[in-house]
């Protein structure tokens, strides 16, 4: 006797609740169901198509349920084999077409619903991830907006005093008055300025200048010695002042401290930031700005120079000259890399501005440099 492989489960009153395996075959008149549980006494039942009803059923509604009333009560078949179901559907007479279509529709609906739900979940997760990724900047800005200026000043001041205590501060002389004049001319052009800018000249050969949150600006004498005109130093100052005005430092701090800081600031706990910064060892002096922030400080710096009637081309030429002749300790460049596009951008911006006649500074830059120890270059 050949063994047969069952392809369906049959349920009925005399069968166990888990059903009995059986082999269902499609024939011209209907279905033949062969029960395989007892090989010695293999029984077959033939059911005409006319007595059958079909529907979808099972755990995932992906099985075909065939019912008929047999001599021993109602019988139910659960079919899962796709080939078998197809053969059945092709052979079935017209009166079964509609129920077959309904069952198929039900299967499609269930599958469609599952796919829909999972794609909605997937989409939501993706949206949240993307939202956090791209919305992080917005969140940071929101948090930064909520930090009061006074508090920002406190933060910057402590770092500033700490830095200056280790430096040789130039307190008087031509260099200081020159820088003060530049700063004055620039800051009076800032509308609704919430900051009380403090500019300090520090004696050092390092070619650098930086600004701390709250309006504390440091210019090294090294940078002043390198500059060939007051306008060039003013250009750097214009750039640095705008890092403060655009609150780039705070932006960086909040970004480094992460989501916890953002949330706590937005919820009103600005003071917690100091603790967080200490905990994570974020140092104001080592903060680096992003490329977008540099571009923003460039452009707003340029506009500020323009408003203050200081020749803005000094800014561009100085940046370019510094990058061309990188002689060792030009630290300003390591944090402000001068790319061709950056210079081009500034030049284009400058060209688009209405022409203004620059007003020269009251100091003589050659004398200022001389006071810093630079020998005047005598043209041959």
């Amino acid at each position: 006797m050949t063994t047969i492989t069952p392809n369906a489960l049959c349920f009925g009153d005399e069968f166990p609740a888990s059903g009995v395996p059986c082999l269902v075959q499609v024939e011209g008149h209907g279905l033949t169901v062969t029960f395989v549980s007892d090989p010695a006494e293999r029984r077959s039942e033939s059911v005409p198509f006319s007595g059958l009803t079909v529907s979808a059923g099972g755990l995932d509604h992906d099985q075909l349920v065939v019912k008929w009333a047999g001599p021993k009560g109602e019988r139910t078949l659960y079919l899962k084999n796709a080939d078998m179901i197809r053969a059945f559907r092709q052979a079935a007479p017209d009166h079964l077409n509609a129920p077959f279509e309904r069952a198929a529709e039900r299967v499609r609906q269930v599958r469609h619903r599952h796919r829909m739900i999972w794609s909605i979940i997937g989409g939501t997760i993706l949206a949240v991830v993307l939202g956090l990724w791209f919305g992080a900047d917005l969140l940071v800005e929101l948090a930064v907006d909520r930090i009061p200026v006074e508090w920002e000043q406190k933060l910057g001041e402590s770092a500033y005093r700490d830095f200056l205590s280790h430096q040789e501060v130039v307190k008087e002389g031509l260099g200081v008055t020159a820088v003060e004049e530049m700063a004055h001319r620039l800051t009076e052009q800032i509308p609704n300025n919430p900051y009380k800018f403090e500019v300090t000249v520090v004696k050092s050969d390092v070619v650098n200048a930086f600004a701390l949150p709250g309006g504390y600006v440091v210019v090294f004498t090294g940078l002043m010695k390198k500059a060939e005109s007051g306008e060039e130093v003013a250009g750097v100052l214009g750039h640095e002042l705008n890092h403060v005005l655009q609150r780039h430092g705070l932006n960086r701090i909040v970004k480094q401290l992460g989501l916890v800081a953002v949330v706590s600031i937005v919820l009103g706990d600005q003071q917690g930031l100091v603790g967080l910064m200490k905990q994570l060892g974020v140092e104001l002096l080592t903060l680096k700005f992003g490329r977008e922030q540099e571009t923003e400080a460039d452009l707003t710096g340029l506009q500020l120079l323009h408003r203050a009637k200081i020749d803005p081309s000094g800014m561009i030429t100085f940046f370019q000259r510094l990058s061309e002749k990188d002689e060792g300790r030009t630290e300003w460049l390591s944090t402000h890399p001068m790319s061709r596009t950056r210079a081009e951008r500034l030049k284009a911006e400058l060209a688009a501005m209405p022409k203004k006649t620059p007003e020269p500074f009251t100091f003589d830059w050659a004398k200022v440099r001389g006071s810093l120890g630079v020998q005047p270059v005598v043209d041959p």
């Binding site: 349920f11 009153d13 609740a17 888990s18 999972w118």
Partner: protein, 227 residues
Amino acid sequence: MRSEILYPGAFPMVRVELAEGEHIKAESGAMVALSPTVDVESKMEGGFLGALSRKLLTGEKFFFQTLRASRGPGEILLAPTVPGEIVVIELDGVNEYMVQKDGFLAGAETVKIESQMQSLSRGLLGGEGFFILKIGGKGTLILNSFGAIHKIELKPDQEYIVDNNHLVAWSVTTSYNIEKAASGWVASFTSGEGFVCRFRGPGVVYIQSRNPGSFGAWVRQFIPVSE
């Protein structure tokens, strides 16, 4: 392969006799003792990705152990981790069972195990997670429960309502809906039942007489909390 349940009740073991060359797969850590003719191997059922998905998705173990009678016939004693009954089901090659993640103890080599995704409502509310084991094929399947195992037999269209935390396994010819235990939301939760599964036959549903989650919560109150 022949199997026999020893010490039926709360602390049973199952003895499996293997002919030479036969092997079974069992839950990792289930082996208690074995004949020297039987080798223990570790196998990632369904390959690395299959095992990984099972581990990540169902929380079931990454490795199943394979116990092979490679040097002659032998026997193996297996026991589950939790106190509770063991049930042996003979799979006929057609019927398949969904098994919650802690329910599988061992199975013949011809038994197929895969993890399957459930629908959203079942995954969220059914208490077994989004992925459960679907076990089919032909041969002996050994399940275990927390507490006693009770078999509910459902005739076609017969319905029965089960607390979702008590489910062990159910045949795929059944279908179920998740619903609130009581008619109102508040009553559903204050009654302590939360969600229940309304099963509809035909098919078999195996349930366990104890709820592992509730038992865990009950034990927790006796564990001293360290500051």
